[in-house]
Symmetry: C2
Subunit: 381 residues, 2 copies
């Protein structure tokens, strides 16, 4: 049906009506006092969500733009960096680093497996002359549905002294990212994920330690120069013309999140992840990621006895539910269920009900009702 | 009054209700077939507006991001460039070039005066060994309200063979920018200007000649790497997550523009500029830019006998009309009236009526009614 689409992908995610309507307000001048108040308010809200007192900078960009800014403002050509790669986004940050002539060492894991913190420890301990300037890790690897153990990796980074830069694009708002408690130096994310907003804004949180590296960092930049954003943010202003209507939406989304509360938001994502995984198990659909490293934002499933792309097609065409497919070498081999942002328990039951109907249509052999009831059990526990 | 603001600044500009409501639609997946159709449609519409068959690439960025992308994808470190600077934005492009270690020669004019094409000719003719790789010019210099003679400058560039890169941020949609007819290599703009959209999208049109320089251009880039955008645009796709709701708005805005027609749109801007300038003359308020180089997007006024900032303050507080102030060294010395994008003849009369009331309140000596009637004469001619 037209206009009946339900998004269960890892971004764009569903957007609340009151956020959409806020975005439909007439724009105001970005240099006005009224807009300064909006900047001040959303910056405070973002700091709350990021659990930090660090600078919180807002870019008109995708998450990639935000992450690139986080990398290139604090490093110089030739600097050695460790990049964790266990999916498309880890690969991307390695490519960004290489585009800027950084000396990249990849620490890899198979897609679907988490990065091994011990490998980071080994590399960092071997670096006795402190050539490694930064460690770059994707927290929730969206392409595989894996949550990497940033907390442990970060402990090894802290023992070494390098900067830690985290892609929190699909973890922020879905699970705790306690920036100040852990001491994360750069944390980047994008609006179309846990923020309950459409795409269009990127966010970067920057620690004082990262700023210490800024004056010496020689990679060229202008639009992505975070020093410009910091200077203007101190005056509740913006160095360029910000997407004012997205800010209006962000204002409302942050208020909704504050009303729900951080603990409740994280518990909701955890519960919905557990319900989704329980359902897949009950349907004998293999999960790509192990329980101990499952992303609370997205569940990747590698079906056997039924084609992933056929599942996606029926779900889309008959039930108006968008699921994500696999990327790169996993294309056609997995489907991914997003449970990130403005997703209710009802949505999980809906998606799983439609998935069961789809599996019936595709003559997959399973016990009808098993998935939905397994999820219901988790959701109502 | 709350929610009664009328924008007469050079961006953000007023946005039609149907565009705002399109932006309030639920997002869809950016990798879906439905979104590919949106990309295809808006790209065709943008090519129509840009009068070009060149590649038309859409970025999640401000106009500055788009212009930086236009510069850094086709040049290498140390390349010599001529940059026209007669206002804040010309200065900015010179700074972008310097941030990327280009060898910048500025060709300057006083703010309020147009760039002299002869100075470009002299520099280009003297460059017999073709060290100048690009000439960068701001078409409508927003900070001063000046329209530079890109057509003539471009003729000198063509005789030389360098690339011409044009900031058309406040000229596109306000006056003709015949990219193919003139042979402009890179043309950048932003959504919050003539496009009748909020800020959030940047546009870059790239000629085949510019693409020839792309493989050898060694400036680092990733998010602003236009090659990635070109590759995906060929498949009606996008390399990153695009702001899908802004695309929905763009779809509607382009349809409205196509209905009005290019000639009518340009005539409207010209008429409103002429009316605004006639009014300022009738009020003895000195215009910063001469008639032969006046921007159809914005009129800058340097009042004598009354303070620019007092005018802006009364206009804002009592009449809910936002005018722009001066930037940098013109701060406090000028005010600027935007007449760009979704502005009707009625809006011009409204703004001028409020301006006269403001001048009365500030005890400025003038003939009441003179400004409005001078504008009415132009508008109804």
């Amino acid at each position: 049906m037209d206009d009946k689409l339900m998004l269960m992908i890892p971004g764009p995610t569903p957007v609340p009506e009151q956020v959409l309507l806020a975005m439909a307000k007439h724009p105001i001048g970005h240099r006005s006092g009224d807009f300064s108040k909006v900047i001040a308010e959303v910056t405070e809200g973002l700091k709350w969500l990021h659990q930090t007192q660090n600078d919180l900078l807002i870019l008109a960009s995708s998450g990639t733009g935000a992450m690139e800014a986080g990398i290139i403002n604090f490093l110089s050509s030739g600097d050695r960096v460790l990049v964790g790669t266990n999916g498309k986004f880890g690969d991307r940050w390695a490519q960004v680093c290489e585009a800027y002539s950084l000396n990249v060492t990849r620490i890899s894991a198979e897609w679907g497996k988490p990065l091994d913190p011990e490998e980071f420890r080994t590399q960092l301990e071997a670096d006795t002359d402190k050539q490694i300037k930064a460690v770059i890790v994707t927290h929730s690897e969206t392409s595989a549905g894996v949550l990497n153990d940033v907390e442990t990796i970060n402990r090894h980074v802290k023992a070494h002294g390098a900067l830690i830069m985290v892609d929190a694009v699909t973890s922020l708002g879905a699970t705790t990212v306690p920036i100040d408690e852990w001491g994360l130096d750069v944390v980047a994310s994008g609006s179309q994920k846990g923020y309950m907003l459409p795409p269009g804004l990127g966010f970067v949180a920057v620690s004082p330690k990262a700023w210490e590296a800024y004056p010496h960092a020689n990679l060229p930049r202008f639009y992505l120069d975070l020093g410009k954003y910091r200077k203007e943010a101190a005056k509740n202003s913006h160095p360029f013309t910000p997407p004012v209507n997205m800010f209006f939406g962000l204002q409302v989304a942050l208020k909704m999140m504050q009303k729900e509360g951080l603990e409740n938001i994280f518990a909701r994502h955890q519960r919905q992840m557990n319900a989704t995984r329980a359902a897949m198990r009950a349907l004998n659909l293999p999960l790509l990621a192990p329980d101990y490293a499952a992303s609370p934002a997205i569940t990747s499933v590698a079906p056997v006895g039924v084609e992933a792309e056929q599942i996606r097609s029926v779900m889309r065409k008959q039930f108006d539910i968008a699921l994500a497919g696999g990327q790169d070498h996993l294309k056609g081999k997995i489907f991914r269920v997003g449970h990130l942002g403005f997703v209710s328990d009802r949505d999980i039951l809906t998606a799983l009900g439609a998935l069961e109907a789809t599996l019936q249509k595709l003559n997959y052999d399973f016990t009808p009702g098993a998935g939905v009831s397994a999820a219901a059990k988790v959701l109502t526990a």
